[in-house]
């Protein structure tokens, strides 16, 4: 007998107005200006003169229902029951009454949440799940981020940076964390180890061959079994073959390293958007607290904070002072691996006499 199934209601994306604070609903599209009274707090003023005060707080991102309810309790008590989340997974409470702001900050901090993340702070690190849930992770982004934010918490709570610093973490080169002023990403350094007993059962071989960016994979008969082989000289260790073919194990306890990239900037402000550039690699993937990665990030932040001018993002700063100076100020080694050889790489080479001495 056929089982009765409930047909889904294909409602798609819900209408957000029903969840929006009434003052924001009323003044939709009619805002005049904003101010930044203190780190973690924004004041937006509408053309009608209406005000909305926003308090932003960092959380552990992976919320248990107890924490979710604590956040809701604070919202009920101080924020008229309305919240939103930023792209970097901070929670925001919005109120029309300034008098509620300080008590709300006190309540959030009393519960261990961190008020900040606005303007020229080190914002919350954007990341995905890692070992907690992903099927292809080289590391645990959630753990890297927790350990790093422990060390950067004062920079999240204050506005001491020349401009905002967006950081991201990714557990493989797919780079789910995205572009960032500073990105901490897994970088594999050895070709995949192939379990030839499993390939023909698990993998659709032509699509695995097609996934390889450098055409290093080809079908092969290994020990009488249909499998795949990798030209290890050509292989760039990107791991693109691993998602469609798990027997091509790319993650390695020793040889999957972390690399750090800087200067990714999504904004069109001043210059056009920029992609991040490699600055450090070979960093051990060292749980549970990844101290080596954090130490390099802090060196970069210190140099940026001391040397950049107001409003310069990291990419603006390096563009002004030049890459040789960046490596000098951060004490990071410049190696042959920093010189790009991927398609379009020539545009990254200096074809001029523009050299700082």
């Amino acid at each position: 007998m056929a089982i009765e199934h409930r047909a889904p209601i294909e409602s798609g994306c819900p209408d957000g107005f029903q969840y929006m604070h009434p003052v924001m609903r009323k003044n939709y599209g009619a805002w005049d200006y904003h101010e930044h009274p203190r780190p973690g707090v924004l004041l937006h003023v509408a053309k009608t003169g209406d005000q909305i005060w926003t308090v932003r707080a960092g959380t552990q991102r992976i919320l248990d229902v107890f924490t979710l309810r604590t956040l809701c309790d604070i919202g009920d008590k101080f924020a008229d029951g309305y919240v939103r989340f930023t792209i970097r997974s901070n929670i925001e409470y919005m109120v029309a009454d300034e008098a509620k702001v300080q008590p709300m900050i006190d309540a959030l901090e009393a519960e261990g949440f961190v008020v900040g993340g606005t303007k020229n702070s080190v914002a919350m690190i954007s990341h995905t799940q890692g070992w907690l849930h992903c099927d292809i992770p080289g590391t645990d982004a959630s753990g890297v981020v927790k350990a790093m934010m422990d060390e950067l918490i004062d920079e999240f709570k204050e506005n001491n940076m020349p401009n905002r610093v967006h950081m991201t973490t990714s557990c493989c080169q797919i780079n789910c964390g995205g572009q960032g002023d500073i990105a901490i990403n897994v970088q594999h350094t050895k070709p995949p180890k192939i379990n030839h007993d499993l390939v023909s059962n698990v993998c659709e071989r032509p699509s695995v061959v097609a996934r390889c960016p450098v055409a290093a994979i080809r079908p092969a008969l290994i020990n009488g079994k249909a499998s795949l082989e990798v030209d290890e000289k050509k292989c760039i260790c990107c791991g693109a073959c691993f998602p469609p073919c798990p027997p091509m194990q790319i993650n390695d306890a020793e040889h999957s390293k972390l690399a750090i990239w800087v200067g990714g900037n999504h904004s069109n402000a001043r210059g056009k958007p920029t992609f991040q550039k490699l600055v450090a690699a070979g960093i051990p993937n060292n749980p549970p607290r990844w101290p080596e990665a954090t130490a390099i990030v802090k060196r970069i932040l210190t140099a940026y904070k001391e040397d950049a001018r107001d409003w310069e993002r990291i990419n603006d700063w390096v563009e002004r002072v030049g890459w040789p100076r960046f490596f000098e100020l951060t004490g990071l080694p410049f190696t042959k691996f920093h010189i790009d050889n991927w398609r379009g790489a020539r545009r990254s080479l200096n074809s001029s006499t523009h050299i700082r001495f």
Partner: protein, 421 residues
């Protein structure tokens, strides 16, 4: 159960330090929840995670799980070490579409939390990097139950796999004076036009819409979406000269010259001797920097609309790609304007569905076939705003130059007529 916890010496280290700890949260579920199912699931999840920390490897594999009628929206996870950690052996995530701008009432969050506690692990993230609410961890059976329950009160699954993915929009017009768009309307109009393509993966690969109200592009739409809609304006920016004077008086001329005037990428600003601001609007590229600094004094103009870029994506397979301008300005006011936007998105997706290779993002296809072939395929005329500079290479066949030049003059003449009417 409470006495038989897996030892987690490495994870315990992540309970130290001032930032809120996700490990402490999972332990709360293990130790303090009333439901033994959730307790057991949290315990085994911690056990497997500790095992990952010790061996520096992940132990989840994908599979096929979906809800009735859909082929998408669930991230299936089966443990490879399920015998050691049986209660989190199946640990699927449901991707649920949030409203544009990520607004919630606490009542709704509580309701979602209650449902999730009934059917899932009690772990949730607002939001994943694609923009979904991530309900992390449930069994194959309970996936359907949880979806059925929340679907009844207004929530639907997002995309996963080769399909139209959940969109993202900035806070926009709801709270930001920089916004030149109705992000909520654009987001819902587009996403809900493609509901079928969200739920039933039948495209070459993922396709993402992101909406940012201005060039600050808080949604990273140029870098991270296949179809970026970004607010802009065509008329002059607004200058409140009294506010300019106040700003100069407060911050000093040196600050204004160093941080506003000389930072303009097209040298379109000049501070006059009387401390007012002169703007060369013809050469302003709407970068937003001066407005970010002088929030009260400078603001966007009134003739607002969107710039549309196609083809942004992250690293795999061919390397990072930014989106490319395909529409310098599209007005988005009337129903017809919105129909035009939707039609353009349909044309784009249809053309890519026809011509994209398996696992090839739209931007990678454009890279492979060239922008002109894409534009001709979707019926968009070329425009110099699409390039940083014209071609440098002479290696090109130019049959039909005269016809193409004629097309340009004809189009320009027509634009003049439209502008005059």
């Amino acid at each position: 159960m409470a006495d038989q916890h897996h030892d987690t010496p490495m994870l315990d280290e992540l309970e130290n330090g001032p930032w809120p700890s996700f490990i402490s949260g999972i332990k709360r579920l293990r130790d303090k929840h009333d439901d033994t199912r959730i307790k057991g699931m949290a315990n085994d999840l911690l056990g497997q995670l500790e095992h990952s920390y010790e061996t520096r490897k992940g132990y989840w594999k994908g599979g096929t799980v979906s809800v009735f009628g859909y082929g998408s929206g669930i991230i299936p996870r089966f443990s490879e070490v399920g015998d050691a950690f049986p209660e989190s052996r199946e640990f699927h995530t449901l991707r649920v579409q949030p409203p544009a701008g990520n607004y919630y009432t606490t009542d709704m969050l509580r309701q979602l939390g209650d449902s999730w506690e009934k059917w899932g692990s009690g772990l949730v993230t607002f939001h994943g990097q694609t923009g979904n609410i991530m309900f992390i961890g449930t069994s194959t059976d309970n996936t359907q139950h949880f979806f059925d329950e929340i679907n009844e009160y207004g929530w639907d699954l997002g995309g996963a796999g080769p399909c139209v993915r959940t969109g993202m929009s900035c806070v926009g017009a709801a709270r930001c004076e920089m916004s030149g768009l109705d992000e909520m309307k654009i987001h819902r109009t587009l996403l809900n036009n493609f509901t079928d393509d969200v739920h039933r993966p039948a495209l070459p690969y993922k396709f993402k819409f992101k909406v940012s109200g201005c060039g600050n592009d808080c949604m990273n739409s140029i870098e991270r979406s296949d179809f970026a809609i970004i607010g802009t304006w065509r008329d002059d920016m607004k200058v409140d000269q009294e506010e300019v004077k106040k700003f100069v008086a407060r911050k000093g001329r040196e600050y204004v010259i160093d941080n506003v005037v000389t930072r303009c990428p097209t040298k379109a600003l000049s501070l006059r001797d009387d401390d007012t601001m002169d703007v060369d609007n013809r050469n302003c590229v709407r970068c937003m920097h001066c407005m970010n600094v002088m929030v009260k004094a400078l603001s966007p103009g009134d003739d607002q609309g969107a710039t549309i870029l196609i083809g942004g994506k992250r690293t795999l397979k061919i390397g990072d790609l930014m989106g490319t301008v395909v529409v310098p300005f599209m007005r988005l006011k009337t129903d017809e304007d919105y129909e035009k936007l939707t039609e353009m998105a349909e044309e784009t997706i249809d053309f890519w569905a026809e011509n994209g290779l398996e696992h090839e993002r739209c931007g990678e296809m454009v890279e492979r076939i060239g922008l002109v072939n894409f534009l001709e395929g979707v019926g968009i005329e070329v425009d110099p705003n699409m390039v940083n500079e014209p071609r440098q290479s002479s290696y090109v066949r130019m049959d039909g130059w005269d016809e193409e030049a004629e097309k340009w003059f004809k189009r320009k003449a027509e634009e003049k007529v439209v502008a005059a009417s």
